[in-house]
């Protein structure tokens, strides 16, 4: 008798547990919006503090090598010839095969010339393509440029008018133009990556 009760008890508990789970699934199916980000069609912008690829303000840099010293993995290579106070730049490269995005190169800079952007896509077929010379690195998008300006202004203690001004020219977020511009930018990037 007990065995039969166990048998049917097992069946009923299996059905109830399955029903419980399916109820949650149904609720999500019916009421909750999908959470999937349709990358690469849409792209969630990282916060402004994001530690992505670097950018160098070459005119400001004084070739002091403090960032290279602060780097725990020695991924920064700097080379410049001094002509009095002017510099003839040979190289300022970051080896992303080593870089761990720890941000220690940023606070040491005495003139605030090196920054991190919210750019992060660097997939490549070529192992040497991961060494970026910051003197020629043009992978920066307009919004990154604005983020850098905002970061610089924030550090200087200036309220953010520059950011707002530079953002004025940009299309309203969410509008059709904005989307078109984004898609065009993504296409251009993809093309650049595959070339």
């Amino acid at each position: 008798m007990g065995a039969i009760r166990d048998y049917f008890g097992n069946i009923s508990s299996a059905l109830t547990t399955a029903a419980k789970g399916m109820r949650i699934t149904w609720r999500y199916f019916k009421h909750e919006p999908p959470i999937t980000i349709q990358y690469p069609r849409e792209r969630v912008e990282p916060p402004p503090s994001y530690r992505g690829l670097h950018i160098l303000q070459q005119d400001k840099c004084i070739d002091c090598h403090l960032c290279a010293k602060a780097c725990p993995v020695d991924c920064i290579e700097i080379e410049a010839i001094h002509h009095g106070r002017t510099l003839e730049w040979k190289q300022f490269s970051i080896d992303y095969k080593k870089c761990i995005f720890c941000e220690f190169c940023i606070p040491v800079c005495p003139v605030d010339c090196i920054h991190m952007t919210s750019e992060y896509e660097l997939a490549t077929e070529d192992p040497d393509g991961m060494v970026e010379d910051l003197l020629t690195w043009t992978g920066l998008r307009p919004e990154d440029q604005r983020a850098v300006e905002a970061a610089v202004n924030k550090k200087k203690g200036v309220a953010a008018p520059a950011t707002i001004e530079s953002a004025k020219g940009a299309p309203e977020p969410g509008s059709a133009e904005d989307k078109a511009a984004k898609i065009a930018a993504i296409k251009a990037r993809l093309k650049k990556g595959s070339a």
Binding site: I35, I37, K97, C99, I100, E121, L122, P127
Partner: protein, 177 residues
């Protein structure tokens, strides 16, 4: 297909067949369940709902190398593990692709200088198709790498003769003219 590989002339119909095969291959890249270190967690995030790699037909990781086309090496490979990575790669069937994910795998990363035990880049062990640097790369960056791999797979010529040498290139160029 074996003997016919890259042996037919590079003409329209052959190209059409090639591109059909390439489309099939790139739309069903099956990665292998393989996690080593930190990057594996971001790789799991790519499989999960927020990024959902299944949109590109690559969302079901296979537990065995024999069923998978793609090995994503996510995390530092050291001397002890390198032997296993090589064996896993050898067990995969052709065509097989490798994505090196993260700085450690691309070229040593943080362990490049003092790591007495780490291999400075998995491309010293197995040929790598796509490098995805970052420590760890964001899930989007890995997806970017997979998209680039898809392009590469789609470009592959299966039957058509590939331009191997400069002379061959010249010949093709003349033929096109």
């Amino acid at each position: 297909m074996g003997v016919l590989n890259n042996s037919l002339p590079d003409i329209g119909p052959v190209r059409a067949v090639d591109s059909a095969i390439g489309w099939g291959r790139k739309s069903s890249i099956w990665p292998m369940t393989f996690g080593i270190a930190c990057c594996a967690i971001e790789m799991m995030a790519v499989y999960a709902a927020t990024f959902d790699l299944d949109r590109f037909g690559a969302g079901v990781p296979r537990a065995t190398p024999r069923q998978s086309d793609l090995i994503i090496v996510p995390g530092t490979v050291n001397a002890k593990m390198a032997v296993r990575v090589k064996r896993l790669y050898d067990q995969m069937s052709e065509p097989r692709y490798v994505i090196a994910m993260g700085a450690c795998v691309c070229g040593g990363g943080p362990y490049v200088k003092w790591g007495y035990n780490t291999v400075k880049g998995v491309h010293k062990i197995i040929p790598v198709d796509i490098f995805v640097p970052g420590c760890p790369p964001r899930p989007e960056a890995l997806m970017d790498g997979i998209l680039k791999l898809r392009e590469k797979v789609g470009r592959n010529q299966v039957f058509a003769r590939q331009a191997q040498t400069a002379a061959d290139m010249d010949g093709r160029y003349a033929a096109a003219k």
